[in-house]
Amino acid sequence: MTATRKAEAAALELNSDLLAAVIECAPTAMVMTDAQGHIMLINGEAERLFGFPRSELIGHPVEMLVPERFRAHHGGLRNGYLGDAQARRMGMGRELYACRKDGLEVPVEIGLNPIHTDRGILVLSAIVDISERLRMEATSKANELLEERVRLRTNELEQQTERLRLSNQALERSNIELQQFAFVASHDLQTPLRTISSFVQLLERRYADQLDEQGQRWMRSTTEATQRLSTLIRDLLELSRVDSRAQSFRPVALDDVLDSAQELLGDSLREAGAEIERSDLPVLLGDRSQLVQLFQNLLSNALKYCGEQSPRIAVGARRAENEWEIHVSDNGIGIPAEHHERVFEIFRRLHSQKNYPGTGIGLAVCRRVVTRHAGRIWVESTPGAGATFKIRLPAPDAATTGAIA
């Protein structure tokens, strides 16, 4: 070996030592292969990435580090690269995986750098483990998806809420309209009805003697029908007024309320020879005139359905936790169990007009009044053994009613 060759060899050795040191220090896994694809050199990062000690790799085909499913193609791809070797990224859009010693696949990005030597083209590959990046990308993708779903769902919910609000509004409107309709209809019906009934009565007073028996019968039928219509309209008005003419709640002594109801029913109570047995009633918060109506309707109900015997009615109250339970019991004909719920429906009548005339609104008014007072009303009854109407109303605290109790 001449001095020059020696120096050249020394320089080369220095170069390759330098190269090896640089490669060893690189923070990236690096693998150098020869033109045949045998591994010539790897660095510590590559050992860590692939899990092989370098002794098990040097001199072996680089395909050891390629997952088995890609191995068959790898040689061809590698030769293709050598034909037009430039520094570039491997894969060009494909997802790349490296195969570890333990068989696990690691997603990677690989940079290829050809090194032209007199022994042919060597390829220095820099391999970056991108599993963490992919995980983060996946997480943020998932987060984005989640956020998007949340946003869509929120949007949907908002739309639903808006739809609910609108349909609520529409319901409220139609409810108000219905109430107004009931009020206006029954109110405006009164005027022509009054004209009809008054003229029929006038005809009867003045001209009845000019009619034969059939004419008089027809006149009586007309009068009776007008009276029924008049009662119906009056009761409908009463029902529609439970809400439209509602007064604000004040402390009300139910004893006074019952007094007023009895007073209003004075004549019919006396005519029926009714006995009313009363015990002390509480003071509640409520709409006095509506509560009078409630008692009046319940009492007149008891009078009406008393059957053969003279009516005995009992009214009382008991405390049930934070409510008052008020009862109105009678000794009348009673109500079969299957009708206990339905008697409170409007126009629901269990008897013929002939036996028990009525409009079927009275108990509907009762229920509406009780509902407005945040209470419940129900009936307990056995046919033939009388009926007990029970009402539960919230008991006010002592401070609210103290003023008049």
């Binding site: 009164q190 009805l193 004209t195 009934s197 008054s198 009565q201 006038l202």
Partner: protein, 159 residues
Amino acid sequence: MSPTLRSAEPQRLPQILVVDDNEDDFVLAREGFYEAGIDVNLHHVENGAECMQFLRHDGRYEAMPVADLILLDLNMPVMDGRQVLAELVNDPRLRHLPVIVMTTSAATDEVLSLYRLRCSAFMIKPTDFAEFVRQLKVLAEYWFTVIQLPPVVNGRCRH
């Protein structure tokens, strides 16, 4: 049937002005007074504007007598009962006139506001004619017997 006279001043019939846009209601009032046996002179106008003209003897009402009592419907075209009440209160020459508001039904607060407008009495027209006749009797008892109607001088009210 000869209606009995119940006026406190037998020489003069009470002049009653019925203000109602419904002709039938006027007929019923007329027949009601007849059935009640109350002798009155009834006059009929169809709205508040005509009512004011009648009371002020304006235009075609010039020769009309002084009204002793007004039976006033509430809901009428042109000028309704509430407006009539408001205008009467503000007219010193008509302020004293008893006005009985007649209506099919009214809410409590409406009744109160009408009394504030100085309506003298309030009558809810019953659907039952016999009841109406009873009410008219009560009304006549009170206004023509117990209460001395303001005297009339030269066809005009003395103030």
